[in-house]
């Protein structure tokens, strides 16, 4: 039975998500998927879908998770990544020329999360547009919808703006756009006055621009890595977040198995559990090594008789 002991309050939807850490088997599956599938839009989307299946497994209130918008979903991914692994993403950047050295960088995911939240909050601040008695509530698009933006190479961004509308409200009547199909949403959107579209357009473009121009990584060499939902850079980043050293994982499985630790138990270990077990095994090895060294050092310089006296007392 899984226990979802951790919780996180999401800032825009006010939803509280109960979750647990990603376990060894899940980390192993993700690492394997990432290492078998090279980077590229199609593969990044496939990875994202696989990741969703695994993440869903780690959450108690699955329905709430599925209803999160893309920004909140990424915030949640960061949270579970930090809890399950650690808050640093270590990367090695290839040099631009032969003269340069490889650059090792470390992204602090807590800082990234804070900056990402602040940059994406721009849309959610004053997110209600009022025009002649009609109110439009804007929000970041749903995760599934945001991923669909990547399906079309030459997407006209303005055609996606309907997906940023959460509610339309007239006097005592509310139109919840998520209740409708894509075609129905478009039909509703098309019936809005163009002036209102100008206001919606302006707000969304500014928000996307804000997210796009912000250096979320706080690292100069990553200035080029612009974060928006119209290219797969963010999926690439998420893939990096959950890619692990698969060889290291295989080694750990091998070591634990050799210590007769039950495979089911290993599968359910968290990264923290594995660290503890590994440290115990290392300590055990160190102790053995020390004992051997002690034996060797005490034996050195003694005659066989002196050694026997030393061992059995005399």
């Amino acid at each position: 039975m899984d226990y979802f002991l951790y919780s996180v309050d999401l800032p825009f939807s006010q939803k509280k998500i109960f979750y647990r850490e990603i376990n060894s088997r899940e980390q192993f599956l993700l690492a394997k998927f990432a290492s078998l599938h090279p980077y590229g839009k199609e593969n990044d989307i496939d990875f994202f879908i696989a990741l969703n299946k695994i993440i869903l497994n780690c959450v108690e209130n699955k329905k709430d998770l599925l209803e999160l918008n893309i920004v909140e979903y990424i915030l949640f991914l960061l949270k579970i990544r930090i809890l399950s692994f650690d808050n640093f993403l270590e990367l090695e950047l290839n040099p631009n020329s032969e003269k340069e050295m490889k650059e090792k960088i470390s992204i602090d995911l807590n800082t990234f999360m804070k900056k990402f939240y602040e940059a994406s909050s721009k849309l959610m601040e004053n997110n209600i547009i009022e025009y002649n008695g009609i109110y439009v509530n804007l929000s970041w698009p749903d995760t599934k919808i945001a991923i669909s933006f990547l399906e079309n190479e030459n997407i006209d961004i303005s055609t996606t703006f309907v997906e940023y509308i959460k509610y339309l409200k007239t006097k005592e009547k509310t139109i919840v756009l998520n209740n409708f199909t894509k075609e129905e949403k478009n039909k509703i959107y098309e019936n809005l006055p163009s002036k209102l579209q100008v206001l919606i357009f302006d707000k969304i473009v500014k928000s996307i621009e804000n997210l796009f121009t912000e250096n979320l990584f706080s690292i100069k060499s990553l200035n080029w890595l612009n974060f928006n939902f119209y290219n797969n850079i963010y999926l690439y980043f998420i893939k990096l977040l959950f890619s692990s050293d698969i060889k290291g994982l295989y080694q750990q499985y091998y070591v634990f198995a050799s210590k007769n630790i039950n495979l089911f138990f290993i599968d359910n270990m968290t990264t923290a559990d594995r660290k503890v077990f590994m440290s115990l095994i290392e300590k055990e090895l160190d102790n053995k090594e020390d004992l051997m060294n002690n034996l060797n050092s005490t034996s050195e310089g003694m005659t066989p008789l002196e050694s026997l006296v030393d061992e059995f007392g005399g």
Binding site: N126, I128, T174, F180, I188, Y189, E190, L192, L196
Partner: protein
């Protein structure tokens, strides 16, 4: 309580609309709230119309893309939109002139935003749409004028007028539905010559020969073209002079100047980009 809180609370007591109800609600709200009072120069008073919606704006932009292929359908599309949005006596629609069309186009565009920039070879020109709207409000709409010509004892009388918006839309439709050629070079020639004759015919309200009316307005476009093609050259010249006066007065209003830069703002789909 901030706006977000009040929004959520109100939503809880609200009626959540299904798709059909939602469309109906938007239609009702459009008639009530999303309206404009536009000054119609030919009628010398304001009329209430619905604002253009996103779907209509999209079709206006599509008409502009068609015009890049020499197949402008702007007048037809725009007339249909005005017809759909008109909230007053529909009979007036048949009397709207191209000056009214200009006013309706500029006012609708101004309602979206007063910012309108045109790229010229020598630089950018910022257009103040409100200036154009105000000039159109003050515009003295030309009245019909009779021009006659007598030759060999036969008098031909032509009554000129500002073209009717609806007829212009029909003419545009006629031109592009009767293209005979596929060849691009010939296509331009054909459209240009047809447009020229059709444009001329649209400035005519009535033709009389020795006081006998042809019932010009009830003729088909084809019949009108055949008729004007047979008018005496001297009369055509006089009619052209009058057309020139009307056109110049409209062009004056739609031309913006900024220092040395000057540009006539065409009324087409690009206005709504």
């Amino acid at each position: 309580m901030n706006l977000e809180d009040s929004w959520v609370i109100i939503c809880m007591s609200d009626k959540i609309l299904n798709f059909t109800e939602a469309l109906l609600e938007l239609e009702n709200v459009s008639k009530e709230k999303f309206t404009l009072n536009v000054w119609i120069p030919s009628q010398k008073k304001e009329f209430k119309i619905k604002e253009i919606n996103i779907k209509q704006q999209k079709s206006l932009l599509e008409s502009f893309l068609g015009s890049l292929n020499y197949k402008s359908t702007f007048s037809k599309v725009f007339f249909e939109i005005i017809k759909e949005n008109w909230l007053e006596d529909s009979e007036i629609l048949n009397e709207l002139t191209i000056v009214d069309k200009a006013m309706l186009a500029f006012y609708n565009r101004y309602n979206l935003s007063n910012e309108f920039e045109i790229n010229l070879e020598d630089g950018k020109l910022n257009v103040n749409l409100l200036d154009i709207v105000n000039k159109l409000k003050e515009y003295n709409h030309p009245k019909s004028k009779k021009i006659s010509h007598t030759n060999n004892g036969i008098t031909v009388e032509v009554e000129t007028c500002v073209p009717i918006f609806k007829q212009q839309a029909e003419i545009e439709d006629y031109i592009f539905n009767n293209i005979q050629t596929d060849d691009e070079e010939n296509l331009i020639k054909e459209i240009t010559s047809n447009s020229f004759v059709c444009d001329f015919a649209s400035y005519i309200k009535e033709i009389k020969i020795d006081h006998d009316s042809f019932g010009y307005n009830s003729l088909t476009i084809q019949e009108k073209i055949r008729l004007v093609e047979n008018l005496p050259a001297a009369l055509v010249k006089q009619v052209f002079d009058e057309i020139f006066v009307i056109k110049s007065s409209i062009e004056d209003i739609c031309t913006v100047k900024d220092g040395n830069l000057s540009k006539f703002i065409e009324i087409n789909g690009a206005l709504f980009m």
